[in-house]
């Protein structure tokens, strides 16, 4: 027995910086922090639908990613339209080129005809990675044509909204898209055709104040930011902090502006279900 032997304490040096070599061996993006609940999780736990395993928030998706989650059976429309840059805005062409390269789209929305869980629809998917999904002249033209073609083909329209609002780099012609699209929605609606909007994170500004709120049925993904004015603008106006979930689809549902909160993985089935209930196909 060696009773008096010094125990092997761990020695610490209070001023030494810990060496974190182990960090460097973990590849990026293995752990993802959920932007909504702030919990971290292993990326695979988010699953094929990229949904937070803790709170159910769906990560923002490029239009093509969302399309691939919904269906493999689709035909894109109006992929060749290009904006005319109505303000000759400095640096705008580079910004557009970057957004086009990042998303594979000509502007901030994908449009086309698609078959979702057996239902044929005219489909629009806005891309939050294309200049914040902002509503430019070509976005507006594509959505207007979506409704016009749907009217001719007697198809229901389904639009996934995601937008920071009217695109300031295109000025007033961008604002006019709100009116142009709204009239196309009204014509489609007057023909007795069905329009479903699915609000996704984030849906704000001029898109909220036009076609996002014009659906016969308005659904939202869980914990989607939905609002008209920006949170900071509201807080500066009323000199108060807003509750964390103030501009959420859930809160808007309480106030009567959203029909249903639908988890992302159930959206395909939900679309097919409400399309069939609203517009039974001829036997």
């Amino acid at each position: 027995m060696n009773l008096f032997k010094k125990k092997p304490y761990v020695e610490t040096h209070p001023h030494r910086q810990p060496e974190r070599h182990f960090n460097q061996k973990v590849p990026d993006n293995m752990f993802i922090q959920c932007p909504h609940c702030k919990e971290g999780a292993y990326y695979k736990a988010f699953g094929a639908f990229r949904v937070c395993p803790n709170c159910g928030y769906g990560m923002r998706l490029k239009a093509q990613e969302r399309l691939d989650m919904l269906t493999a059976d689709y035909t894109p429309w109006d992929t060749d339209l290009q904006t005319k840059d109505p303000l000759n805005f400095p640096g705008y062409d580079q910004k557009l080129a970057k957004a086009q390269a990042a998303t594979g789209l000509n502007d901030s929305v994908w449009t086309g005809e698609a078959r979702i869980a057996g239902a044929n629809v005219a489909l629009g998917i806005m891309d939050p990675f294309f200049i914040m999904g902002s509503l430019g002249t070509i976005t507006g033209e594509k959505i207007t044509r979506l409704f016009e073609r749907a009217l001719n083909k007697k198809l229901p329209v389904v639009i996934f909204t995601a937008s920071g609002g009217a695109r300031m780099q295109e000025g007033m012609p961008a604002l006019m898209q709100m009116a142009k699209i709204s009239q196309a929605v009204a014509r489609h609606s007057a023909a007795g055709l069905f329009y479903l909007t699915i609000l996704t994170d984030p849906t704000t500004g001029g898109v909220t104040a036009s076609f996002a709120m014009q659906g016969d049925i308005i659904a939202a993904e869980p914990h989607t930011l939905v609002g008209f004015a920006g949170r900071r603008v509201i807080e500066q106006t009323i000199h108060k902090k807003l509750p964390e979930d103030f501009q959420s689809g859930e809160n808007l549902q309480k106030h009567g502006f959203v029909d249903s909160i639908v988890p992302r993985e159930k959206l395909g089935a939900f679309i097919a279900q409400v399309v069939r209930l609203n517009q039974p196909e001829e036997e």
């Binding site: 036009s210 709120m213 609002g227």
Partner: protein, 258 residues
């Protein structure tokens, strides 16, 4: 002819304290004005004045934003920024105009829809969206005039008309020059520079066919009112030649161009 103003000067003039007030405009243009209140849904927003009146001999529906003249009015109207209740009142009165085959005249001077917490909870977006759609089923002549600020969706909501006119000293823009500068350069003090880029003056917007006519704004308000009244009477007589269906088709074609 006065020298052409820069965009920043037009912004200043549009917001000037000397700008003709909504009530002066209504009293100067119309006779027999009866104000009608409420959205029939639980609210009445003083930022939008609505009612019926005569223009010349003809009954019309008047819908106007107002910034208020007294301090109390300015507070109650949030300096002319409407809430959803105001837009719903406007929609109700437009539908009523359609029922009684009355032309609609809107007068707009707003920095935009009010960005308040209640406004959000009461569906500011939905209220504007409903007005934008309504222009599809209003088979009556509809003229919108922006006489000061035309702030974004909050102004567009009242301007999906057969004709959109602007006062010489007015602006119509997708956001404020301050907001534009602070997003673009993180510096709202560069608003003047932003105004130059944004194409928000009546001349720019006439070139882009966003608006149809510029209303001269002499300092003598009587002359201004007399001229505007004459123009409204002429244009309404002109539009009244068309059937309701023709008006709607023409209106759709106007906005389809953008």
């Amino acid at each position: 002819m006065a020298q052409k103003k820069t965009a920043a000067e037009v912004v200043q003039a549009a917001r000037s304290a000397d700008k003709i007030s909504t009530k002066t405009l209504i009293n100067g243009l119309f006779n027999d004005f009866v104000e009608l209140h409420g959205d029939r849904n639980g609210g009445d927003d003083p930022a939008i004045i609505g009612g019926i009146a005569r223009l010349g001999n003809r009954p019309v529906t008047v819908i106007a934003t107002q910034k208020g003249e007294t301090v109390e009015e300015k507070i109650a109207t949030h300096y002319g920024d409407p809430e959803p209740e105001g837009y719903r009142k406007a929609l109700r009165l437009m539908r009523q105009a359609a029922k009684f085959n009355r032309p609609i005249v809107t007068l707009i001077n707003t920095a935009g829809a009010y960005p308040g917490a209640d406004a959000e909870a009461h569906g500011q977006g939905e209220a504007i969206a409903a007005l934008l759609q309504a222009s599809y089923d209003l088979p009556v002549p509809f003229i919108a005039t922006i006489f000061g600020e035309g702030g974004s969706g909050g102004a567009l909501a009242l301007a999906c008309a057969d004709e959109v006119w602007m006062f010489e000293n007015s602006i119509y823009s997708v956001l404020s020059p301050e907001g534009f500068a602070s997003i673009l350069w993180k510096d709202s003090a560069r608003a003047g520079e932003a105004a130059g880029l944004m194409k928000l003056t009546p001349n720019d917007l006439l070139d882009m066919k966003i608006i149809d006519t510029i209303i001269p704004e002499p300092t003598n308000q009587d002359r201004l009112l007399k001229n505007l009244k004459k123009k409204l009477l002429l244009k309404l007589a002109d539009l009244s030649q068309l059937s309701g269906e023709e008006l709607i088709q023409k209106r759709l074609a106007r906005f389809r161009e953008f």
